[in-house]
Subunit: 301 residues, 2 copies
């Protein structure tokens, strides 16, 4: 299977991604074996509220990259509740456009009711797409900081997509978003309030000492505005070599660390399931555990 | 501090909740010491999409319970991204109504950029509010299954709040929601599509073999509809003794298990931080770890 993966067999890639999704025990050694092949892909994170037009922008970006004969892998991450699942479904359908293009590989990841693990799976899939030889890897997610998937920790460049309506009345929370973006996009800029949001972002970024960060107004109906956006992304990738190298090294360490925590947690979960008994006070189990394993004693030096 | 907590000092309660939020090492023994005081509160989970009116319904329910002289603790959980923070802020403001009523205690929990731990903190706060003597504990959250906080695992009764608009075109995902609710609410029932959604829910629940589950249409402008809702909740709580006893026992075990996983993870995190070194292939760290700690060897039998 590894040979077929290295030869560019898409079924092998699909198979490896499924192993990562299923937390197969073979995954760590798989990633280790493929590590030498990684580090070539440009990883672009695209994040923003549901309905901001992330999927449409992603779709247009794929078209542009394909015109330049670049290969593209896409990970769409959905850590949403079933309540907001409707929007998701509508969004994803658009990406079917690229279904018959072997230069584009698209995979959706969602928690499907399972708690945790989405962040690790996303990292692993990015690793696999990179190792497979995709020149661009796009990570599309609503997740920022407070969600399971922190796109900043995964991407070389992070694009934050906002819409004019978003600007109304949430000044106090904006600081959480200002730190995230390497590029800010006010999408659906033909709507009322777009200029105001651009100006507010400009002022806020200036206060944060990030006046140099690009803020772009885009609209799907305004092709030149999209060209500017994509050129800005590509410009960031080619001109920020040192920053990106630092981010990539950090990313590899973080992924390894998450992988290890995942192994440990799963072992702990099995142990708890095997050893927890009904007690008059279930919290005494913690005390018993601490007697067996005093703080700091679990791992060998 | 424990004495003051037991005497009903709200500042002591606040202090203990802050310890839980900050993952203070004293928390497990605190919960253990208070365990005998718990098990008396009715825990009501209120969940649904942002904008469904959960906070308003919660507010009205608090008013009703206060009229009956019942004490109420409220945990509002916000595992949302900063992008959707706007609605949250608007919603929360309403709860300020009860600010000067010592019979109502309200606490918001949010991840504030930190990954994980919200589910455990919510469980701990419910435990503390219960031990403090609140007769009702309301847990309001958008989280269901795929999010960090699974309200089903925390509440005695779970109320799922939907709005008519929600019914449009997402049939395929509904099954994820059908299993959750003990009571379904179609709120804002003066809007178009309310009857249709009620009928769809009825049909879907029937297919799932849950035809007996109440489906209520409510509107904030229709006081009797709210009375019916609150009576239905209270009716469920008084008539489902066995089911609730089972849920509570399960809840205590789950909380202990989460607490223990949290302790283990934090120890693993420290160990990784101290031992991970820059390697040519960072993934070799996993292999090295597995040599030190073969699978199944981490925890004592």
């Amino acid at each position: 299977m590894m040979e077929r993966f290295k030869k560019g067999d898409l079924r092998a890639l699909s198979r490896f991604i499924t192993l990562a999704e299923n937390k197969d025990p073979s995954v760590p050694s798989l990633l280790q074996a493929l590590y030498a092949q990684t580090g070539k892909a440009h990883v672009v994170g695209i994040t923003g509220a549901p309905g901001a037009g992330k999927s449409t922008l992603t779709d247009k970006f794929i078209h542009r990259l394909r015109k330049e004969k670049r290969t593209v892998g896409v990970v769409a991450v959905d850590p949403v509740s079933p309540f907001t699942g409707g929007a998701l479904l509508g969004d994803r359908i658009r990406l079917v456009d690229h279904f018959n293009d072997p230069g584009v590989f698209i995979r959706s990841l969602s928690t499907r009711g399972k708690l945790g693990g989405l962040s690790l799976a996303t990292r692993e899939v990015v690793h696999l797409l990179d190792a497979f030889g995709h020149e661009f890897v796009l990570v599309e997610t609503v997740g920022v900081g407070q969600s399971e998937v922190d796109v900043r920790e995964i991407a070389d460049v992070t694009v934050v997509v906002l819409v004019p309506e978003w600007g109304d009345g949430i000044q106090t929370i904006k600081s959480g978003i200002l730190e995230i973006g390497d590029i800010f996009v006010v999408n659906k800029s033909d709507r009322e309030g777009a200029d105001r949001l651009v100006n507010e972002l400009k002022a806020s970024l200036q206060i944060e000492g990030r006046a140099q960060v690009p803020i772009l107004a885009t609209s799907i109906h305004d092709v030149p505005s999209l060209d500017v956006l994509f050129s800005t992304i590509q410009g960031f990738l080619t001109s920020s070599g040192e920053l990106i190298a630092r981010r990539r090294a950090q990313r590899a360490r973080e992924t390894v660390s998450e992988l290890l925590l995942d192994l440990v947690t799963s072992e702990a979960r099995n142990w708890v399931a095997a050893n927890m008994k009904d007690a008059k006070n279930p919290y005494s189990f913690i005390q018993d555990f601490r007697k067996l394993h005093p703080e700091g004693s679990l791992f060998r030096k």
